[in-house]
């Protein structure tokens, strides 16, 4: 029997390991594209993301990681729910986002989306929980979107929905260590 040589895992193999989905099985029916609520904000339709993942060469990977598509995905799971081949395009999107972020390839057009996620996690890292006031403040500073929704803040406060002083949990050092350990991990 001829033994397979050790080779660099293909993108499809890496994605399968990360998500359990073997993109080779996708037969490009387009049902994910048809049902995606966010497709109008995407430069690649979800079925095209799956197609590029199948192609998997360097050029395809670049297109994927630099796309606006992966950052416009809402994770609504409609694609995964209805896929006739039992694929999980939502998980593929997740895996590509992580790759895109780690490699610093996030599309400039998605600055706000990335800023929001990062701000969210920063607050959690520091205190163990998310809190609207610091989150919004950090988000506005890092996204450059200073003025939207300013009128919402007083409305929220009036309704008692803006806790002013976020408490940090006792275990926040643990949480910080978790964040640090996760940072150290390699790409999936």
């Amino acid at each position: 029997m001829i033994k397979a040589e050790q080779h660099e895992p293909t993108l499809a193999e890496r994605l399968r390991k990360a998500t359990g989905t073997n993109v080779v099985e996708c037969y490009q029916c387009g049902k994910c594209t048809a049902g995606c609520p966010m497709v109008r904000y995407m430069d690649l339709a979800p079925s095209q993301v799956m197609r590029l993942a199948q192609i998997g060469d360097a050029a395809a990977l670049d297109r994927l990681l630099a796309s606006t598509a992966i950052w416009s995905c809402a994770g609504c799971l409609t694609c995964t729910q209805r896929c006739p081949k039992k694929q999980d395009p939502a998980a593929i999107m997740d895996a590509l986002r992580e790759m895109s972020y780690r490699r610093g390839m996030v599309s400039a057009k998605q600055k706000k989306v990335l800023a929001f996620h990062r701000a969210f996690l920063k607050i959690v890292e520091q205190t163990g929980r998310m809190s609207e006031v610091p989150l919004t403040g950090l988000y506005k500073m890092t996204s450059g979107d200073l003025f939207s929704d300013v009128l919402l803040a007083p409305a929220m406060m009036l309704r008692g929905k803006l806790p002013m002083v976020p408490k940090a949990i006792s275990g926040r050092k643990e949480v910080k260590r978790i964040f640090a350990a996760c940072r150290k991990r390699g790409e999936r």
Binding site: Y41, G75, L77, A115, R118, V124, S148, R159, V175
Partner: protein
Amino acid sequence: MTAIGYYPGCSLHGTGRELDQSIRALSEVAGVELREIEDWNCCGATAAHNLSHALAVALPFRVLALAEEQGLKEVLAPCAACFSRLKGTAVRLARNADLASEMKELTGHDYRGGVTLLNIIEYVNRLLAGGLKDKLNKVLTGLKVAPYYGCLLARGEDIIVGDNPEQPTGMEAAIRATGAEPVAWNFAVECCGGGFSMSKTEAVVDLSCAILSDAEAAGAQAIVAGCPMCHSNLDMRQQTINAAGLGNHDLPILYLSELVGLAAGVDPKRLGLDRHFVDAMRVAPGRA
């Protein structure tokens, strides 16, 4: 008094405050003690799974481990997103022993799989079956509501079990028990825009507007939701939608626990109905 573990999640102290209030009030009426997990951390929500898979597992792992350590065999997570993260992680861990030991090393906690998660629908149905039904009065007779499950209370095969992901009916019994009438409408499982409220507001405006419009066209006088994200997008953002010229919406958005709370005779303010952006107090009996 029976007790159950409680994971409010970050939003229930902020934008989702009514959900926390109404759940607590309802539990009191039903005679269930909510034992909040001590020192719980954020589950990571959408941000974690978007940027780091390891973090997306590790943060819920800590929560589950704490619950187990504190002797809480069952945990209620009223926020649909938190529930999805916590239960999704629990299911993954049960299938993959390697992942569990990896997380043990990463977090310093040991979780052995001993916690069951409940979402808002499962919890309310359980309360009803456990005797709460007899304490309800059909005070909302004549109120037409559109039951809105959103994404995470309908989809995720291993996470949402026992209901039809395309045509769910989980909330129906509870709604009818209050006298309200669930209407047949088309957007029960359509996405509201999720976490894009600030970072892609236009998407939330478009998607949530479509939901409001269909509910109104179906004759609904209110939408009943089960997720603070959905609630915020439909309630807090309703004025944004109107301001964008996309309609003249005036539809109160209620949590399932608020609706049932009204039928249980709880004071509307105690349920948090006075905190909504779109006036929800008018749904309370005697206040139309």
